[in-house]
Point group: C2
Chain length 327, copies 2
Amino acid sequence: MTRIGIVGYGNLGRGVEIATKEADDMELVAVFTRRDPQNVSIISKDVPVLKVDDVEEWKDKIDVMILCGGSATDLPVQTPKFAQMFNVIDSFDTHARIPEHFANVDKSAKDNNKVAIISVGWDPGMFSLNRVYANAILPNGKDYTFWGKGVSQGHSDAIRRIKGVKNAKQYTIPVEDALEAVRSGKNPELTTRQKHTRECFVVLEEGADAKFVENEIKTMPNYFDEYNTTVHFISEEELLKNHSGMAHGGVVFRSGSTGLNHENKHIIEYSLKLDSNPEFTTSVLVAYARAAHRLANEGSFGCKTVLDIAPSYLCNMSGDELRAHLL
Amino acid sequence: MTRIGIVGYGNLGRGVEIATKEADDMELVAVFTRRDPQNVSIISKDVPVLKVDDVEEWKDKIDVMILCGGSATDLPVQTPKFAQMFNVIDSFDTHARIPEHFANVDKSAKDNNKVAIISVGWDPGMFSLNRVYANAILPNGKDYTFWGKGVSQGHSDAIRRIKGVKNAKQYTIPVEDALEAVRSGKNPELTTRQKHTRECFVVLEEGADAKFVENEIKTMPNYFDEYNTTVHFISEEELLKNHSGMAHGGVVFRSGSTGLNHENKHIIEYSLKLDSNPEFTTSVLVAYARAAHRLANEGSFGCKTVLDIAPSYLCNMSGDELRAHLL
């Protein structure tokens, strides 16, 4: 059995709790929170909810701690810190800061004989894996990654910071024609605008200026100015009723060629259609928690990513069973 | 540099030769054949073609030997034998016999401090990987594998053994409605007949009985009797002109659910569209040859499959580069 701990109980923490229940070889033993534990109600009534300050007492009672904080401020501090006491998994997803985060976590984990697996999820995560496999197989080719349709938390937050906005959700939507052009092997050169559109559902504060808000959104640098953006103003009731879903997904393509004159074309496509972004992400986290426990038992300490771990480590089956049934 | 040797120069051997040229870190140093080397003309004029009996002299001059023989009779003998002298890669694809083949090769490789990676290609191979990742992430779900459209060598051979048949090609074709049902999350129960159809292009010997041949094909146990099969009789010229292509492909799906009541559905889809089945297969073999060389340098001896190898081993990039560019 792998004894699992959770730090942070939001959508991700709850997803880890549910995913742990699906696994015969895992047991959730404690949930840690920065809030008052009295006010945190979890699904498993037999599992204690504790203050995160008391985590050290659990050093020898937890095999893998799954860190469910955010990438902006929580994980850069939490992952190196908890890797001093526990084998840890995180879903750090700020691509540009991964090298720095990796270095910090690697030092902690190696100094303390722990395994840390960072940036686990679907992107970074399963999409990264697919980019690496496909690039290794087809060195001559082009990569394409599409996201959506799904809510982008970062873009929704950016809209909420505009004066006059009470609430907002932003969907990232892949352009169907672009997907089809890639899928059919045309190897298109696609600008940012040609790959995705952005659709915003916005609730205004009373008396706010809709024209001003729409213009602020559409011209916002980096977030919206390079995209075709649609803005809908709706009521708060409608937002909560129709836009609270957590569906997401995306597609990774490698379009490559082989042959003496590169005359043979090949398309590798990996696609995800997810009803619940946090529950899928946490299902990946839990599979890698299994790997972390095994790697720790083998003494293979330090920081790793999904690229460093063999697929067999994720499965609750022996090598013989995998070769007989899934190979 | 990884010094590559090839045993057997058919479609696969030629594909390995071409794929090796694409890789900056690989060098083809020799091709071994059972035929008279004088009669084997390869693309690389500076690479020697030698008798397979002389292979032992190359023990210290080749880092990885890629075995390009067939699964029926060649590889069960060749892979354990060559694993005594070389790190080896094969594409053994008789799923039912993989456990036995693994055991034989593992003994040879371990006794001689060599690395052997068997059953490399796309199925077994990339499809297997995707089955394992998807099963690990979504333990509650169903697997679906579809093949084609593409020529099945085994089925084409079976037709050629019928009395009165001069030549034949058989295409395996996935049923579009079945693909769509799976893709849309309907989790259908599909019989063999509902998943694939079989289309045969047959050249008759002079004076052969077309009715007899068609009936022999359609009622052939295991190969055709459980499928909807179409038979076309065509001339040998037409067969060579229109049915000599080597395109293939397929799709692996995992359709699963998460949530307290499994209320959230997720579809993972991995799809390949290949102009050249042998060239794609050999591109995978060459990527795993890179892994075999690294594993040998680390002293990680024995038999392995794609399930036992971390993705980063396949890429000609450092961990830092992979994390910065592909994670």
